[in-house]
C-alpha cells in the first residue's frame, strides 16, 4: 500500500525535474526497484498508472528494472545471491548475510518530449 506514497514521490520528482528543465510530457519513465527493496512491483506500476492522468506522466511507458538481491556472507567471505530476506547463504546455509545489492529504489531517467 505504501506504493501509492512512492508513486506520489516519483511524480513530485518528475515535476521538480520539469521545473529545472522544462518539458511537456514524459514518454518513458525508467525506475529501479531491487528485489530486496520492499516494493511490490505490480502495485507500484498500478499506483503510477492511477496517478498519471492529467500529469506529466500521462501516457508514459513505465519500465521498472529489478536488480537481483546480493549479499556478502561473513562466514564464506564471498558475495552470494540472496533471493529474499531471511534466506540462507547458498554456500554454507548460514544467515550472516549483509545485503549488498537489490535494495535500490531509484528513478533512473526520463525520456521527455518538449512539444
Amino acid at each position: 500500500m505504501h506504493e501509492v506514497s512512492l508513486a506520489g514521490g516519483i511524480l513530485s520528482a518528475v515535476e521538480a525535474a520539469a521545473r529545472r528543465d522544462p518539458f511537456v510530457r514524459v514518454s518513458r519513465l525508467r525506475l529501479e526497484a531491487g528485489t530486496l527493496a520492499g516494493v511490490e512491483i505490480e502495485a507500484l506500476r498500478f499506483a503510477l498508472e492511477a496517478l498519471a492522468p492529467g500529469t506529466l506522466l500521462a501516457g508514459a511507458q513505465i519500465d521498472i528494472e529489478q536488480p537481483p538481491g546480493q549479499a556478502w556472507c561473513l562466514d564464506c567471505a564471498i558475495s552470494v545471491p540472496l533471493i529474499e530476506r531471511g534466506a540462507g547463504c547458498p554456500q554454507c546455509g548460514g544467515f550472516w548475510l549483509q545485503p549488498t545489492g537489490g535494495t535500490e529504489l531509484r528513478i533512473l531517467d526520463l525520456q521527455v518530449e518538449d512539444h
Binding site: 521545473r19 531471511g86 544467515f95 529504489l105
Partner: protein
Amino acid sequence: MCVVCGCGTGHSHDKTEAPATDSDVQVDATGDLHYGEGQARVSVPGMSQARTIRLEQDILGENDRHAARNRENFTAHGVLALNLVSSPGSGKTTLLCSTLMALRQRRADLPLAVIEGDQQTRHDAERIRETGVPAIQINTGKGCHLDARMITEAYSRLPLHDALHAAGHTHQSFVHSHVDQQPHAHVQTQQHQHSHHAHDGGEPAGMLFIENVGNLVCPALWDLGEAGKVAILSVTEGEDKPLKYPDMFAAARLMILNKIDLLPHLDFDVQRCLDYARQVNPQIQIIQLSARDGTGLDAWLDWLLAGAPAVDRRAARIAELEAELARLKAQVEAPHA
C-alpha cells in the same frame, strides 16, 4: 551543447553540479534548489522531440533528507528517539503507557514525549496523556505509515525541546543551526549556540517515542530520523511473523516479544520465533516482556536508559572467527616449531 540531453541551454542535469551562472536558482527553506522559476521556463524552440533526463535519484530521497535533519536535531539535544512498529493489536500503546509510568518512577525529571500515529481517532494520544506525558496524535487518514516530515511538524509542537532546556541543558559556544523552521524561544539569542552533547552510549537527556501506524510492511521503508526501530510482536500472533514480514525485522534494532504472560495458554514456540528473527537479522536484540504483569520491563528500561545501544554481534562474530583462525594457524605452525 549539453552532452546529456543534446539541447543548447547551459542548464544542469545534476543538482550537485549547479552552474554558478544560473541566476534563476531558488533555494527554499529546506535547502533544496529550484531551477526554471524564471525565464528559462520558456521552452526553447527547435529542440529535438525526445530527449533523456538522467535523474539517478532515490525515490525516498526527500523523506531521507527530512529524516537526516530530524536525526541531527535529536542527537544534538541528546534525545533518544525510537520508532515503535508492529501489527495492530500487539499491545504497543499499553506497553508505552507502562513504560512511561515506570520511567517516571525511575527518573522523575527525565523529559518524555510521544508521537502517536494512527489512521484515525485520538484514542491513543488520550491514553498517553493520562500518564501525564505530552503526546501528539498524527492521523494519517488513508496513509499507512508516518513519514519524516510529519515527525518534524509534530516534534516542533511538543514541549520536549523546551523541557530539555528548562532541565539545565548546557549552553556553550558551538555553531549549531536549528533545523526546525518554527520560531522558538532562544533562536534570536546567542545562547542557543550551545554544545549539544551527543550522549553517545550514555543516558539520554530526553526520550521521544514514536508509535507508528500498526502495520508491519510500509513503515519499514520510511526513516523518521529515529535512533532505532523497535518491532513489537505479541505471542498471540504467529511465531513466524519475522519471516513473513522480514523487511521490518531486518530494519529493527530491538524486538520486544510482548504478552508473554499469556504463554501458558498458547502454542507459541518462543525459541522458534527468536530463531526466525535472528535469521532475518543476526544483529537484532530481543527482550521478552509482559506490559501487563511487568515481566521484562526492567530490561527494557535499562536498555532505554543506556541510550538504546546497538549490539554489534557482527563485530563479535568477526572476533570469534579471527580467534579461530589464530588457533588454526597455531596448530599448523606448531609441528615446525
